[in-house]
Amino acid sequence: MNVTAAGVAESPPPLTVALLGNPNTGKSTLFSALAGIPTRVGNYPGVTVEEKVGRFVHAGRPIDLIDLPGTYSLSPKSPDEKVAVDLLRGRLAGMPAPDRIVIVVDATNLERNLYLASQAIEIGLPTVIALTLGDAAADRGIEVDAAELSRRLGCGVVPVVAPRRQGITRLADAILAALPPRQPEGLAAALAAVDPAQPPTAREAIGRYAWIERVIEGVVRRRPVARTIDDRIDAVVTHRVWGTLLFALMMLAVFTSIFWLSAPLMEGISFGVDTFAEVVRGLLPEGAVRSLVVDGVIAGAGSVVVFIPQIALLFFWIALLEGCGYLSRAAFLMDRLLVGVGLSGKSFIPLLSSFACAIPGIMAARTIENPRDRLLTILLAPLMSCSARLPVYLLMCGAFVPNVPLAGIPWLRLPALVLASLYALGVIVAALAAFVLTRTVFRGPPQPFVMELPGWRWPQPGIVLERVREATWSFLSGAGTTILAMSVVLWALSHYPRDEAAVEAEVASERTNLRVRLEGEADEATVADLAAALEALDTPEGLDAARRGAAQRCSFLGLAGRFIEPVVRPLGWDWRLGCAAIASFPAREVVLGTLGVIYNLGDVDAGSEEGGTALVRRLRAATWDGSRRKVFTLPVALSIMVFFALCAQCSSTLVVIGRETGSWIWPLASFSAMTVLAWLGALVTYQVGTFFGG
């Protein structure tokens, strides 16, 4: 870059170059080889199609490389393809047509790739063809005469092996030197020669392919290869038995890694955040500011960062599977299962991942090109029971579901059946929701499901890492900031109004309540529990815990819990449970902690043996205000579990839905619909349970 004496950069304006190509042509690898890490990643205005731009300098000329979404033709069938076409034709708001087009053409699949290439050449912008995957083509006995192809197409053709950076400099030279192409020889004639009796949509394809068949004759030389490696891999991978088995193993590996492998990483992050919070707590004077910083901001930031291991691991797998060509085979194998509910096989991995956590699952829906299927998958993902719901299930099943064998089978016990039913419930409700939605809100003509099964390739480590980095970064920068802001708001709602008098009155009424119950109680175990609770109120820790519980109950969230009591009463819940449900909104995994605080236990680690037992004892002893009637019975425990199985009480998930759909309507709709579903489910569970079980 030349810098004048005045210090003002004086360089030629950047050349904008659009990178166009079919999906699975090694376009991303070529992008990285040319421009390195993208300098700008965002969305095109008004659509949720990703815009990726990379800046590089070649021969003193800055070049902005725009990575267009992969497309098969210039008559778009999806928003992704429409963006690519509009940008090329200069019809995208605020974006002039590019100065150059680089068309990525896969040498192993020249015939079909030339369809898009010939359409793009006709636009008339200076064009270069990057002929990729020549090495893979050679393995299959395919040889392409690039010079002859260039002559027949009327534009430059540069063979490149992007992973090894072969031909990259030559390609960059060709980009700078590119001229508007001659119109391809014989194309217009071929299009005109098509039988006019054919429907207009068919004429374009018939004419173009007829021309392509002539172009490749003499350009492509095939050496007979007995049976390619691709065929051999494919024979196993799509085999009815072996393919299915391999698929199950692969999915097990994916799921295990995001469900269990991520756990120690997440614990490590939580530990780090907690340690940091304690250090800060020690540095700041006690008061509202300290609470805001520690419980609001640091805890909020922690709740964002904690999702990174799952997101990174899932996208690692997706990039790996996509890179080697297995992702489409997985969709191929699973398609039939999902067609029934109006989805396609591509929704399988996003939905499966949602059993670990809906957030990476929703983000994984980016691999679904069809916008309707993608949106539907995003909306169904939170219905899969995620790992944050598991502690609630385990606690309730362990404490309130009788541990009796079923049908006399010793190893089949009622709690296990309840647990399995909750997982099934999410899936069944999701299937029904999909069935209804595809017939109402998402009604429309059937979407084309014509999916390429690309050739097998080695995944590029650079591309895999880039994919992981991109997903993590887009979560942190996009959803992360909103989740953090929301955490601070929710912190304020659970800490204000700080009405000391109300808190003290609440503690006093608690004490009176316990005394009254103790006097009339006959059951020895309950007497012991009540006496212990009363005694605890006289210890400093016990009193502190009681104050914290009271403060929580007197906060805006607590008041909201009381306010909604009439709504939750038909579910068998008292207002404290209503509070806990509302207070778990920041993230479902806090619900047990919230229950601990609300029931005056202070901070308990419900996951630990000791904390879990203490919480169970406290919950078992809980009664309705001013009465001896227990709150937690089997029907109530079931209604709580059903509620949590179906509700969308997870602010981070809703933020990510908003981010991925680019609209606030979908998270709001999702929250409302799932809350109603959860309430109805809990209502039916409790009422039916009470009717049969008393």
């Binding site: 098969y72 033709s73 008559s75 069938k77 192993t108 699949n109 020249l110 015939e111 079909r112 369809y115 395919i142 054919q198 429907p199 207009p200 949509t201 068919a202 374009e204 394809a205 018939i206 392919y209 007829a210 290869v225 007995a226 049976r227 390619t228 065929d231 494919d234 024979a235 799509t238 085999h239 009815r240 393919g243 299915t244 489409s328 191929f332 194998l333 398609d335 039939r336 299962l337 067609v339 096989g345 003509p445 059937p446 979407q447 084309p448 499901f449 014509v450 999916m451 390429e452 099964l453 690309p454 050739g455």
Partner: protein
Amino acid sequence: MTSLKEVAIGSTAEVELITGSDPTSERLLEMGITPGVLITVIGAAPLGCPLELEVRGYRLSIRRSDAARVAVFPSLGARSTRAGAMSVRRSLPR
């Protein structure tokens, strides 16, 4: 009229025409399934749908319902070119 849906696994057929003029038909044509082209049915997913096809030297997958709109001339029988052993790979009842 025979459709691609009825072509036996491992067999190759010549495409006669694509019926309909909606986005799905258009996409099938753009992907190279044009009148006169040879298509080999390589296999089917474990549950019978979708189909795995080979056309113009690459593999693609379409659902049986979409295969029904691809009219073909009567089957040319098992082909033994690229995917040599495919005819013995699977025989799925239709």
